[in-house]
């Protein structure tokens, strides 16, 4: 079993950088004159360039979706359990692309990059980006790679929102969209959690209005709390109860503000880890990307009308215990697709893990994605 897992890894991968000299006008009105996107690819692009799958990342992930780095073998891609030779997103068959989005902090142009106009880090000056801005810049990457039409665009959560946006922004460039653990927009509750996270960062004395780079500090306390809040929403109540329950670290209460409960320890660990590598300005912007996503907004709140232009076939997947983006939210997408008579398959996976389920190795979920993509492959002209 273990041996076969190794055989099914894409192995050692290396990021690449694409440089774009043509300015991009963002939804907020700001213009970025030039930018770089860092990306990785797995598998081989076929002769007619028809086997490409774009994998869009969610809140904190990156272009590093699969495989590992030669100099850092423990840094395994965030969706390695689904991407690889013989895996559901089969790299023997598909050319898979992971890209770090604009405004990110994993190598693509973002708040910590140097603004060529000032020669200093963008910091607070980096504009608020949107899902649509990401898709527009991903499309330029596709042009750069010579990919006219994707076999599929896929993602979970915020990644799924990008897949959905792709189908209406570039209908003719997407054959299939895999929209996993998605929502057509954020609920007030979702936005509320994001705002708590942002306030934690913004009110950290080390934030310096977003220009903390010049002060040689990072608002780690804020980032920690932001990540802790996020983590609460990714897990289901049941999953948290199963994993941690009311277990005490020392076996008995200490009547102090140390980490008594296992769940406290877990959240602090996640927060600390995150604050070490993630950029606070990026986090602020990505939570805003989520908050502003609402494709129906430009169509009088009518999601069906928003999705009307899509030509793709859809696989929509939700998870029963996901309370952040519940199955009902996915069903809104499905209903809108049905209204337009678009091709759609919808599956509701009975998984205990909450929103995080889309990242986990659930057999029913992975079998479904594998079967769907096998069907997609059947439609590729070799």
């Amino acid at each position: 079993m273990d041996g076969s897992i190794d055989n099914r890894s894409v192995g050692v991968v290396a990021p690449q950088v694409a440089r774009f000299a043509e300015p991009v006008r963002l939804r907020c009105g700001a213009v970025i004159d030039e930018y770089e996107l860092v990306f990785e690819t797995y598998g081989t692009l076929n002769a007619d360039r028809s086997n490409a799958i774009l994998v869009c990342h969610a809140l904190n992930a990156s272009h590093h979706a699969a495989g590992q780095y030669a100099d850092d073998p423990h840094n395994v891609g965030w969706w390695d359990n689904i991407i690889g030779p013989g895996k559901p997103v089969d790299t023997n068959r598909y050319f898979v692309i992971g890209v770090n989005n604009l405004g990110g902090c994993h190598g693509s142009t973002g708040p910590k990059s140097v603004n060529p106009r000032t020669g200093r880090p963008w910091g607070a000056q980096f504009p608020v980006v949107t899902v649509e801005d990401w898709v527009a810049t991903q499309a330029r990457l596709a042009d750069h790679l010579g990919i006219r039409r994707f076999a599929a665009v896929m993602g979970g959560s915020l990644g799924a929102m990008q897949a959905l946006a792709w189908t209406v922004m570039f209908p003719e460039r997407v054959r299939h969209a895999l929209v996993i653990a998605c929502a057509p927009n954020l609920s007030a509750q979702n936005i509320a959690f994001n705002e708590v996270a942002r306030q934690a960062i913004i009110t950290d004395p080390d934030f310096h209005g977003g220009d903390y780079y010049e002060h040689g500090v990072t608002p780690k306390r804020g980032l920690r709390v932001a990540r802790m809040v996020g983590h609460i929403t990714y897990l289901s109540d049941d999953e948290m109860a199963n994993k941690f329950g009311r277990q005490l670290k020392q076996g008995r209460p200490t009547y102090s503000f140390d980490t008594d409960f296992e769940i406290e320890s877990y959240l602090r660990h996640q927060g600390n880890k995150f604050a070490e590598y993630f950029d606070a300005n990026t986090y602020l912007r990505i939570t805003k990307v989520l908050d502003y996503f609402d494709p129906a907004l430009d169509h009088g709140g009518n999601l069906a009308r928003a999705l009307a232009p899509a030509q793709a076939r859809f696989l929509v997947v939700s998870f029963t215990t996901d309370w952040r983006f519940s199955p009902d939210r996915s069903r809104e997408i499905v209903t809108a697709l049905l209204h337009n008579r678009h091709h759609v398959t919808y599956a509701e996976i009975d998984a205990p893990h909450g929103h995080d389920a889309f990242l986990l190795d659930d057999a029913r979920y992975h079998r479904l994605v594998a079967a769907y993509l096998e069907r997609v492959a059947g439609g590729i002209v070799a």
Binding site: L338, V344, A371
Partner: protein, 200 residues
Amino acid sequence: MSGGRTMDRPDYAAIAGWVRMDTRVLDLGCGDGSLLRYLQESRHVTGYGVEIDDDRVLACVKNGVNVIQGNLERGLSDFEDHSFDYVILSQTLQAVRNSERIVGEMLRVGREGIVTFPNFGYWKNRLQIAAGHMPVSENLPYQWFNTPNVHLCTIADFEDFCASRGIRVVERKVLTRGRPVTLWPNFFGALAVFHFGNGA
């Protein structure tokens, strides 16, 4: 593979005979999607299946048909009025809790409905009841203690039901071992296939 299954399901051919080319079909309780696939291939229909079971949803994906995972008992609220030419309920009517409601939903969502169900009035069933047992026969393969069927009816019952609710029966086929039955269908017929629409 779907051909083999179709041979096992004589109601498929009966249904396909009624479905016009290039129409829109909703198949409720679509199982592994083989009927939809058969209709896609033979009648060029488009549409969706609805299925609750994980394994069958997966089988639909493998069969290349669109499937929406959901519970028929909760109604068809995802589907708009008159959005399909045909709504099919194949060998499922007897297994839904609210049969009356589902037939109503079929005619809300579709212009016409097609149902197939095992005829409880089939002579083999009558004989077993007469002998004091719940019937087990080719279209009713379950024992009383493990059957999914909760609303069994006879051909005569279904016709009365349609008449009392203003449902117009367009066509009817009655089959036993895949062969059409014309003589005393409510007695000699094992499987009923009804094609119906709104209004008398």
